[in-house]
Symmetry: C2
């Protein structure tokens, strides 16, 4: 994808409203590439990635009510008050940058949609959150959800990308492919230890 020069960074999320879903996602991905190229700090890149997703979904008229990240506490540097479990498995995910309403601060590794995606390192698409065993509701109005794991270049799970929707079956294959592409780019583009 071509490099992109921003006059104002906010223009990165000014999407044409006459183009189709794939074009909006391609524009968002091109902006992400341009934003991450000179900047590797994971907090900064996750913050801008959350905004990119949020305004792409907004341009598409989707009812997304939350878009952001949880990170594996012990895999993102520092973490003085973090811990692993006795078996060496990460104990929890902690809330990272996001767009939307206030969210749960921690999620036990392996629990809920986010914890499952982090533990299995596989995307989890949930058409109806009420039917997902152990779903953790940060917002009672969420009806469907997609969570994509974020792996660094060594294949270690560093966190998850999490998107919630106010309607059931909120995400189709094109949406999921975009989110997997973005999560892949984020994983490769960040320094995760500070």
């Amino acid at each position: 994808m071509p490099d992109k020069a921003f006059v104002h960074h906010a223009d990165a999320v000014t999407f044409a409203t006459t183009v189709d879903k794939s074009e909006i996602y391609e524009t968002a991905m091109a902006s992400a590439v341009a934003l991450f190229e000179p900047q590797r700090f994971w907090v900064t890149n996750l913050a801008n990635a959350a905004s990119l997703m949020w305004y792409a979904f907004d341009a598409l008229g989707m009812n997304v009510n939350w878009a952001g990240f949880y990170v594996v506490a012990t895999n993102v540097g520092g973490g003085n008050n973090r811990r692993d479990d006795d078996d060496g498995k990460p104990a929890e995910l902690v809330l990272g940058p996001f767009m939307g309403k206030v969210a749960c601060q921690t999620i036990v590794f392996g629990r809920g949609v986010c914890g499952t995606a982090a533990e299995t390192a596989k995307t989890v698409v949930v058409p109806d959150v009420d039917k997902f065993p152990g779903h953790i509701a940060c917002d009672g109005s969420t009806k469907s959800e997609v969570v994509v794991p974020i792996l660094d270049n060594a294949g270690t799970v560093k966190g998850v990308l999490d998107v919630d929707c106010l309607v059931m079956n909120g995400f189709d294959d094109v949406d999921v492919r975009f989110l997997e592409d973005l999560a892949g780019l984020v994983g490769r583009s960040c320094e995760w230890d500070g």
Copy 2:
């Protein structure tokens, strides 16, 4: 302020619309206290604080187009690709969690509104950004701005809280006092080195 138990975390930003500005800000501060009490990781707390501000301003009908944080790169742990200047001064602020459109990733320490607030450790209220020397426009539609420094318990500047508005003179004394209270709470409530 009393402890607050959340049924859903998202309810922390469900504000009554019939109350006045001070009551909305008191509710937001009570939520912030409750959210930060069990959680000290700065990324998590800044992410939820940005959401709290955003929805408080939304409830008040203010035209806030960006609300979030920049952090002093070398003062937040890790920072492998960060550096101080030769004189030992921090080189730059980096973008932290926020709500709003994609934003500038770095700001030179001492430059622009954010850099000035970080360098002087004083709140900067800018009624008209076009009249602020060296103003850095991440979004060309921003007209006014408030930036409040965030200090840890030892008095070290860890970052700034930054809010932009689409209208001139967007913030009054009550708004600024709320932002200073929130920035103070954030500064005291976080572990900043990971």
